[in-house]
Each structure stands twice: as structure tokens, then as C-alpha cells.
Amino acid sequence: MSEALDTREYKVIGSRVVRPDGIDKVTGRAAFGADLNLPGMLLGVVLRSPHAHARIKSIDTSKAQAMDGVYAVITGADFPNASETEDPALSANVMAREKVLYHGHAVAAVAATSMAIANAAAAAIEVDYEPLKPVLSLDEAMADGATIIDEQLRTAGADEASDTPTNVAQFMRLDRGDVEQGFAEADVIVEGEFATPTVHQGYIEPHACVATINEGGQANVWCSTQGHFDVRSLAAKVLKINVADLRVTASEIGGGFGGKTTIYLEPVAIVMSGKARRPVKMTMTREEVFRASGPASATKSRIKIGAKSDGTLTAMQAWIGYEAGAFPGGPLAPGLMCVFAPYNAPNFLIEGVDVLVNKPKVAAYRAPGAPQAMYAGECMMDELARKLKIDPIDLRILNAVEEGSTATYGPKFKAIGFKACLEAAKAHPNYTRQLAEGEGRGIAAGFWFNAGMQSSAEVHVNENGTVTVIEGNPDIGGSRASMALMAAEELGIPYEQIRVIVADTESAGYTNVTGGSRVTFATGMAVIQASRDIITQLKERAAATWGIEEELVEWEDGHAVPKPGVNADVQPLSLADIAGNAGRTGGPILGRASLNARGAGPGFSVNLADVKIDRETGKVDVTRFTAIQDAGKAIHPSYVEGQMQGGAAQGIGWALNEEYIYDADGVMENAGFLDYRVPVASDLPMIDTQIIEIPNPTHPYGVRGVGETPIVAPLAAVANAVRDATGIRISELPLSPPRVLEALDAAEE
């Protein structure tokens, strides 16, 4: 896969072009998940559990069935047995069977001619529950004698296999050297405990889909998703149908951040469409999005770091517990792999657990697991710098991984940009800018692996020499522009002559999700290879036209030209010339590539945050924020900056305001944007960005993923700034006004 790095001057890569889908998105034409209406379409709603943990004794749907305008009423009994499917947890999460495992868990659904009728019918379904004690925190779940959520569950990865039922789904350990010895050698040791709450991705567009299925079992689904091929395979598993019978079209997507990489409504809509023999549309309300989609894990952690008096690390230790929600699958492994990834530690011991609680099953959220882990790790690096009286950037530079270092998670790093980011931070004017009275400054590092995975692309040459790129990644933040830029660069034609289509599962080659910061890297690589495939064919056509050998033709600036010294009297042929003549030289010109991309270059970042604290109310305001990140090569710098700024805003929200607040029964008390408060425009300053470009050696242009790394560092950067401003380390997020005020008051006493 590895290709020689391109060192040429780029013509269009790195320019700030207008995205091809832009006009439709500023005029209201772009069709998102809820924007499709079909003739005869019904509207579906889900009846959800009022209990966080209960046994379903019986469900009586007869009253709902009898209502005028109701076409389908379904329950778990209308789905294949969860245990007989390839993914029982997914199936049971889509529709509860014997037990409900969180408040909001789906128990039944209705499709009717209007929302009013559907809601009335759902309310008429009678469910008899036997309430059980809910398990609502890591500590409760792991306590002796804890209520067991799933009697069948045993701890995976435990040192000693046990046959005792447990809520601990997985144990994991990473270690190297002798951590006790490392602490014995340390001149200074810092230790701390941290906690982070459940938070939500907060995409503005709620989940939505429209499904139809015919009498032969062939289904069409339109939905808002980060990966329509995954919707196809996951829905096929839940319904035990053939993927070939399921065609999924991705609508435009109104944000996902990892939360739209799984399925909730789609199989439900398909089953109801089959019963009703009509199209069924389903959309979640915002309240349902909070209660019943997949938020990010709450965590608890303990960190201990030892160093020599000059700052050299001798030992690093971490324990991190992730709440998985009602089914196994919190981001334990990536979290543990990230926590100390930026540093060379001769001795480390990193352990953690993935634990069931009666809350919604967590889903991916931008660099899943890393923000929680690195929040704790980077707060302790800050404490270490304070104790050693070393500049926090210098401490990190001294211990930073670089090319050739062995990562805590195993492999050796190739070219990476961590030191370059640290040095840029140190030199940044915002690092030395005078702070106002009462302000504080924090710094933190961020890290994410980035993914490669499978992608396909086709490049079609139209008869006038314009080009259509066909790919399979929903465009969540300008990726059509990046694909068109890469195709334009390769083909040597203007960006404006390229159109990019995100095609459905029957029209595009198989492609993994828009996630893992992989699209520009992996699908971009497929577009580059497909474009190169086109160039090979264009050279063949030119050679045939000129009656010379293919090897004697070169492709330059969008033209076929003979090699120097060959047949000097022929005129160069443009892409349009060759396309116009394609019928006479062999027919249409179509390029394609499919690949499983390896070698996604890891992403590093450094963030600087300045905060001001209102000592009367405890409110923290971020007054200045600087995000520095290695992008490898920024294909479209504005969209790279946009990722950095958006990730910063989400990280600031996580640090300062956002949290699921539960009552004693496990009911979320703030399931709306009024009380689950994400940052608004007046909460934030401009977010300064600096893109570092240390090329990723495995990508033809040096691209590394950029989408996820930006959310990792802001939590600790803000927390460290609050520590700086107040002199107090508050070790639980969010740093909301009451919590900060309480800490300030306690410190005064």
C-alpha cells in the first residue's frame, strides 16, 4: 500500500474552494433524514420504557390495533429472536424483549396516518412491568452484591476466568517494564482521581429514516447515517434478511460525531412497513435522542505518575472504568491505549473495565474513550509540571514520543507531529500573552489513532471531459470538496469540472463508515487511485490516436503529451478531446479503485485555553482558545480548521457544562437542549487554529485524519486553566458554576 510521498507543488490541494454541495445547503434544498416524504407514507413512533430496569410481564396492543388510522403495531415478538441473531445486544437494544434495561428503551412501535394518531395509539398500548432495582453508577455496578443486569454476562479478559455473574463486561491491561520499580526511582510522584459524566454528541439533526419493503422482502431505506453500508449489514442482522434485499440510501446528515454509526429506528420502520404494506417514516424527538440513542461513557479514573527531578518520566499508572450502558461495548480499549500515548514511559501499567449500568447503550463519540482518559492523564501531567516547577510544555517536550518511539499500545511511531505541535504552542503568541487579573491558562495534549479501513471510488469521465466521482461516505463536513480537490489534482483539470456523488449501497462500492477520521485519508486514497486508473486509460487512448506506444505518452496538466523527443508534431490532447473521441478509441472511460487502507497516521494536538472565573457565581468563561494540530497535509484548510474549532467547542462543553443528570430511579432529568446545555455562540471566543503538516508517509499526499483528535485535549486544557486561575484542582467534570463555586467556597474556609 505504501506509496512514495509526493513532493511536488500542489495546484489545487490546500486551496479553500467552495464545496460542491454548498448551494443546496445554504438554500434549504439539501435533503436530510426527515426531509423525504413518499406517497401513502405512514408515520411511526416508538413506545419507550418508563423504567430504567424492569421485567416485561405482558404487552397488550389490542386497543392500539383497533384505532382508526393505525396500520401497524409491533413489539419484540415481531422480530427474530435476539439470541438467534448475529448481534443479540444490537437486536435487544433496537427492541426490548424480556427486560427493559434503561429508561427510554424501545418496547413497542406504531405506524399510523398521522403523528397524533400514532402517539395516541402508542399511549393505548398496555405494558405490565415488574420494576427491578436499577444500577446507576460504576461504583454500584461493581459493588459486592450488586444487582446483576445480565445474568449471562461474564468478564472478558479477566486474569482468572470466573463463572460468577457480574456487571463487569471486560477487563483490560497494558503494561511494560516494572511500574513499582519506576515509582521507586522517581524523585516526585503525583496521584489523582477523576470522574467524567455521561455526555451526548448533540448532533442537531435527530435520527430519521423512511423505509419501504415489498411483498418479496426487498427493502429500501433512506436514513441519516454516517455509514449506509453499516445500516445495511446491521439491519440485516437484526431482521435476519439478506443484505442484497436491503438498499440503503444515506440522506444528507445533520451531524453524527460517532452517534450515527449504529441503528435504532431502521429495522423498526422496515418491520412496520411490511405489516402496513406502506412506506413508514420515523424520526426521533430530541428527548428520544437524549434518552434512547447512544451517548458517551461516564468514567472514573485514577492516575499516578512518577518522574526524576529533571522531569524525565519513570513510571505511569492508570485505572479507568467506563460505563457501557445497558450492553457491553464502552470504548475501553481505545481509552486505555490513548491515555499515555504521547509519552515515553519506561514503565507503565494501564488497566480498566467496561461496566454495565441501566443507562442507554453508549455509542462512539469523536475519538471514543480518549477525551475521558486523556482528561485525567493530562491533568496529572499538569500537576507534575507544577510540582517539578517545570514549564508544562517543556515537560511534555522532554518526554514526547517521536518517530521510532514505541507507543504504549504497541507499534513504533512513523513520522508524527507531536513535538512540532508542542514547539508551535511554545512559540505561539497566545502562550506568552499577559493574562488579565483572575484569568488562568491551561495547556493539554491530545492524541488519536485515526482509522483506515475499506473504501471504494469510481471516476467517470463525461463526454465533455468533466468528471463524476462516485463514493460511499456520507458527507458530514465537506468531504465532497476534498474528494474533488484530490481528483482535480491528479487529473490536472479545474476543481469546478468535478462532481462528487455519495451513492447508495447498490450504486457505490462497499465503503466503511464516515468515522474514525478516515474519509479524506482512505476514501481519498481510493479517489486518487481511481484517478490514476483513468490517467492510464487516457494515455492508452492518446497512444492509439497517435499510433505510438503507450509508454511514450505522459499526462501533464490535464493533457496527454508525447514524451520529449517523441513525435514532436502531434498536438497535446486534453481530457475533453479524449473524452469526446472515446467512442472511437474503445468506449467510455471509467476508473475505479477499492482498498483496505492501512497506515492511518496518528494525530496529535496541543491546546491552549485561557479562562476567567466569576467568583460570585462560579461561572467559567473561556476567553481565548488555541488549537494546534498535525493534519499531515490539509487538503481543504478551512474544513480542517473547522474540525479543530468544532472539536474544541464540543470539548469545552464537556469540560464546563454538559452532563446527563439522573434521578434516583435512573430517569434523565435534563433531556432537552434547554437543560442539557451545549455551547452557544455567546459562550465562546473565536477559536485560533494552527495547522501543522508533518506528512503521513503512507498517504500519497501525506494526509492524516483530523476529525477526532480535536475533541481530546480541550477537557484538560480547560480544567488546567481553571486550576491555574483558582489554585484548586477540581477533579470531576463538568466544571459547572455550582461545582466551581462549591470548590471556591470550600477553599476559603
Binding site: 454541495d21 436530510f32 432537552g672 451545549v678 452557544v680 455567546s682
Partner: protein, 160 residues
């Protein structure tokens, strides 16, 4: 359920629709009039994705009943570009890459236009407070604020 007949003006055109008493203006625009450019992010007045002008006043259409549109004039995202082309705000949102997923964009453009129509030269803080009812989860607002500032400058006839 009995439906009420409503006559209204949408983007300068006379429109009629039948509407249930509990239906919001947002639902009417999207489901009865097929104007799906106006988005629903919350239906509780907290996200601004559903922003429209009702008799020249900026409102969350999810908080207005469909029947309240009787004899009123409604302007939506679909009415902002003209025969002359895109509105400067639309141009500048594109130029500044002020949208990533784009689902918040119609609401932001409608709300920002309402600001610039009454204050052609807002400062950064005024823009931030005016747009505080519009949530964007993708951009961190930086590029949105800059796009609005740049559009204001263009609309004032100053070179950017």
C-alpha cells in the same frame, strides 16, 4: 379531527392549507407545504434550526401554531435567494466554510439576515448574542461569526 383552513403568504406567494389545531407552523411548512428547508432540531424552541420570519419578526416556527399563520406573512430559507442569485449571507457562508453538516445553516441564515436587516454593522458580541438561540454543533461558531461579519460588510458596500 377537524382541520382549519388557513390562508397565508409564504415567501411572497399566497398559500392555503388545512391544519390540525395542535400542528406547529414548522410541521405545516415541512409536511403540508413541502418546504423542508426549515429544520427541526428540538421542537421546543431551544435550537433555532426552525427559524423563520413571521410578519418580519424572527421566530422559532416550532413554537408557533400553524393556525396562527392566518393572514400573516412568512419568510423561510427557500425565499432568501432571489432572481439575482444568492444572498450575500449565503455567499459568505460558502466562502468561509461556515457550515460542516449544514443542518443548522438555514436557521442561521434566516436569523443572521434578520439581524443585518435591522443592524447593518453589528460587532462580534452583538452577532454572538443575536445568534445565541441557534445551535451549531459542528463549527464552534468561529467561521459563522466571520461569515456574518463579512456579509454585513458586503451589504454595506464596503470591500471585504
Amino acid at each position: 379531527m377537524s382541520r382549519t383552513h388557513v390562508t397565508t403568504t409564504v415567501n411572497g406567494e399566497r398559500r392555503e392549507f388545512l391544519c390540525e389545531p395542535q400542528q406547529s407552523l414548522l410541521d405545516v411548512l415541512r409536511d403540508e407545504l413541502q418546504l423542508t428547508g426549515t429544520k427541526e432540531g428540538c421542537a421546543t424552541g431551544d435550537c433555532g434550526a426552525c427559524s423563520v420570519m413571521l410578519d418580519d419578526r424572527l421566530v422559532c416556527s416550532c413554537l408557533v401554531l400553524g393556525v396562527e399563520a392566518e393572514a400573516k406573512s412568512i419568510d423561510t430559507i427557500e425565499g432568501i435567494a432571489t432572481d439575482e442569485g444568492l444572498h450575500p449571507l449565503q455567499e459568505k457562508f460558502l466562502e468561509h466554510a461556515a457550515l460542516q453538516c449544514g443542518v443548522c445553516t438555514p436557521g442561521f441564515i434566516v436569523a443572521a439576515k434578520a439581524l443585518l436587516d435591522q443592524n447593518p454593522d453589528p460587532d462580534e458580541q452583538q452577532i454572538r448574542y443575536w445568534l445565541a438561540g441557534n445551535l451549531c454543533r459542528c463549527t464552534g461558531y468561529d467561521k459563522i461569526i466571520r461569515a456574518v461579519q463579512d456579509a454585513a460588510q458586503t451589504m454595506r458596500g464596503e470591500a471585504s
